[in-house]
Symmetry: C2
Subunit: 471 residues, 2 copies
């Protein structure tokens, strides 16, 4: 199917049927992405204010066979939001469709429009004494529509699930320009295929999400945070099992940190206070969210004592104040910034079946060592089996020194992940960056089914072409 560019003529057609102010000059920020890998392009930029305007835009694009790229906060890391080649697309930014339409505390539901900033959704939930648990580094600028389209992960997946699990219903414009009114606030609705789950994670290739009914949770009455030194990655897993046996769902986050990350922090952000005098080989950050009447410091102290007895903890720091909690979290949250300052050869957002992680770390280290001298910073959401496995230049070398080796490093990591039953994209999605990898490693029967679904819902192939599936 040949697509046509969004030309000035097409823009004129749209102007005639849309209110003033919907079509805008294309600012460069809409064509950039955080990693600077791709430069986007656009023929027309639209900032609709209503769902009907989105429908008009998509319907017109479908009739004219013009590609459509939906645009949220622009924080995606796999280039789903920038279309670097092919006919110049119509870019639809949802930023003006951003209201919190309703908060229903008794139902534990909040209805937000796609352009609402994630942090604002969190705040609206807090205002009703509820928790919207999705939390990730870009929450100050990411939009909930983008979080949904990419099925975002973040630090609370262990307890609360991925974005797909946090959504009850959707309103969306399908590729034919029709509006699906599916903003159900129901926990249970078993009346046919899960179109909601299908659009979530489709990265704009099956339609434009315009609003969502989101699940809220009770706010844990008290929180506790600790960092435990563990003798090995296996011990970290044992500690996780142990913590969940003792504390159940109260374990909200369980983050693995490697010495390399702490050393990068010391090197690039020396003002940052570190919890241990000597950086340990492995440590974990544990966050508990407990109900009323429970004592988080005591719970963590009991856990520590038992873990030491069991050989799965060596040392530990339990936060005694909000300041100390923030300090511990800052260490975890600044690791990506330290990584950025060092400059990786290749970064990987992978997941591995939990029990295979120690073996993966061992075999990954060997595979990378076989390719040359590198430093590896392996850290992340251990509770979800989601590691950020990032490979860096040896000390004294720079990212550019390894330009020739980048693809073999990436290939070695992804081959191993695939062999061990893991995923080459745990939480960032496919976008355009990982389309080839999904083709290489994906189950062919599933890929064929995905293509059939894409063809069925978007026969002209206008929605975000080149993302998720090869054109």
């Amino acid at each position: 199917m040949t697509l046509n560019p969004a030309t000035p003529d097409f823009a004129n057609q749209l102007s005639a049927i849309l209110p003033d102010g919907v079509l805008r000059d294309i600012e460069p920020r809409y064509l950039e992405e955080p990693r600077g890998r791709f430069n986007g392009q656009a023929g027309v930029l639209a900032l609709p204010q209503t769902v009907d305007e989105v429908a008009t835009l998509v319907r017109s694009a479908n009739a004219a066979r013009v590609p459509v790229v939906p645009y949220g906060g622009g924080t995606g890391l796999v280039c789903g939001q920038v279309m670097p080649d092919g006919p110049a697309p119509l870019l639809i930014s949802l930023e003006r469709i951003a209201a919190i339409r309703g908060v229903y505390p008794q139902e534990n539901v909040l209805v937000a429009e796609a352009g609402a900033i994630l942090a604002d959704v969190q705040t609206a939930a807090q205002g009703a004494n509820r928790l919207f648990p999705l939390s990730l580094a870009s929450e100050g600028s990411a939009q909930i529509g983008g979080n949904l389209s990419t099925n975002a992960g973040g630090v609370n997946v262990l307890r609360y699930g991925n974005t797909r699990e946090l959504c009850l219903g959707l309103e969306a414009v399908l590729p034919n320009g029709e509006i699906w009114h599916g903003l159900s606030r129901l926990r249970k609705d078993n009346t046919g295929y899960d179109l909601r789950g299908l659009l979530i994670g489709a990265e704009g290739t099956l339609g434009v999400i315009t609003a969502a009914a989101l699940k809220l949770s009770p706010v844990p009455a008290v929180r506790g945070t600790a960092m435990f030194v563990v003798p090995s990655a296996q011990a970290a897993l044992d500690l996780l099992s142990f913590a969940r046996d003792q504390l159940g769902e109260a374990v909200s986050a369980f983050e693995l940190i490697h010495r390399q990350g702490l050393e990068f922090l010391a090197e690039t952000l020396p003002q940052l206070r570190q919890p241990f005098e000597r950086a340990p080989e492995w440590c974990v950050l544990i966050e508990l969210g407990l109900s009323r009447g429970q004592d988080p410091e005591q719970a963590l102290a009991d856990l520590f004592e038992a873990a030491v007895g069991d050989g799965c903890a060596l040392d530990g720091v339990i936060a005694q104040s909000e300041t100390q909690r923030n300090e511990l979290w800052t260490v975890r949250e600044q690791i990506p910034e330290a990584n950025r300052l060092i400059g990786s050869v290749s970064s990987h957002d992978i997941s591995i079946p939990l029990s295979a992680i120690p073996e993966f770390i061992a075999r990954g280290g060997e595979a990378i060592a076989a390719l040359g001298a590198f430093r590896i910073n392996c850290f992340g959401h251990l509770g979800d089996g989601n590691l950020h496995y990032n490979v860096f230049p040896a000390s004294g070398k720079s990212r550019e020194d390894y330009d020739a080796q980048r693809s073999e490093v990436k290939r070695a990591v992804h081959d191993l992940v695939h062999q061990m039953g893991g995923s080459i994209s745990a939480e960032h999605g496919v976008g355009r960056l990982k389309v080839e990898d999904v083709e290489r490693y994906g189950d062919p029967v599933r890929l064929a089914a995905m293509r059939a679904i894409k063809q069925a819902l978007d026969p002209n192939g206008i929605m975000n072409p080149g993302a998720v599936l090869k054109v």
Copy 2:
């Protein structure tokens, strides 16, 4: 697309390429369903032992344009498992593909084949000191494949979600007879469309689920059970909010019970011990699952005291022993049996946005009263907004006396549910019983998308024709 019956010739074709013992004589039990509404038919019955045999069966049926009905435990309540008319189908029972393939306690994952009985899955999880939380009345005979195909609900959805939320990956035979190897044990895998979520709840119309990787949870260390009398349905909701504020996710179940249900119990099962001397208008059954070191009786006593102070509880019984816990649960679990013995005019498995439930109960009562003299037993999973809203003959009358009114009663209930943003099938699915209702009340854009997906994945329309979508 015209389909052909599964003839003796077709059976002979299959015999030639399958091991002995796969094709069986058709016993009547495969053609019946629990409510006796439909009589099924079948041309050939197959009991494959391997996924490859399922693939061979489906591939052959697809080539011959023979309809396929997948068969699990046969406990479905909406007739998805029986095809009463059209060309006689190939019935594929999964009962011999029933192994627990693996338990991964450290990952909180269990891999089960479709034919495994739900109770056996629960037991296998318990054996690894883990909880598989799906729990429903038919768990002793329902198979996990059927639970997945119907996205079953049950009593623990409030805390743990529907079956879809309890599944990480699937192995399935798609309508073209190809096997999707998607048994991922990963919590996070963001590499394309959610085929898993689409097959779950598709009731066998998009393929045959043959195995699943299931999510396990920590076993709550201690449990507590109580029944509180509440002054109104609104107070029951207030109590639920209150309980979740105090106890967070520890509230595992929150079941609403109406006086009518207790009176039916007294009438039909008089030997059953009831918790209150005089049946209250409304009461709720509360189940807590707490972590180590917490005291469930104390937690329930605190909740009761606070709830009385707040005006949302009037009286209460807190179980002090396992025997008392079982007694309270027996009351709840025997209500459907009492209903069956009384004989309903019309039963409805509906859900309503939580905050609209009191209004629904009031308006539903008025709508039914306008149609004549009836008794209403409204009970169910209040925490999920899922009510079993069952309408019974007035005292002294029988079900048959209302035969002429049955459809208008059903229509009145469903119209009101739809008006109030609810679902006409909360947990039982669509099957064949509710196809017309889904056509009437469903969002037309969603229905069109469902049809497009069905056509894309099953172009010959062989999979469970007549279920979920009109042929």
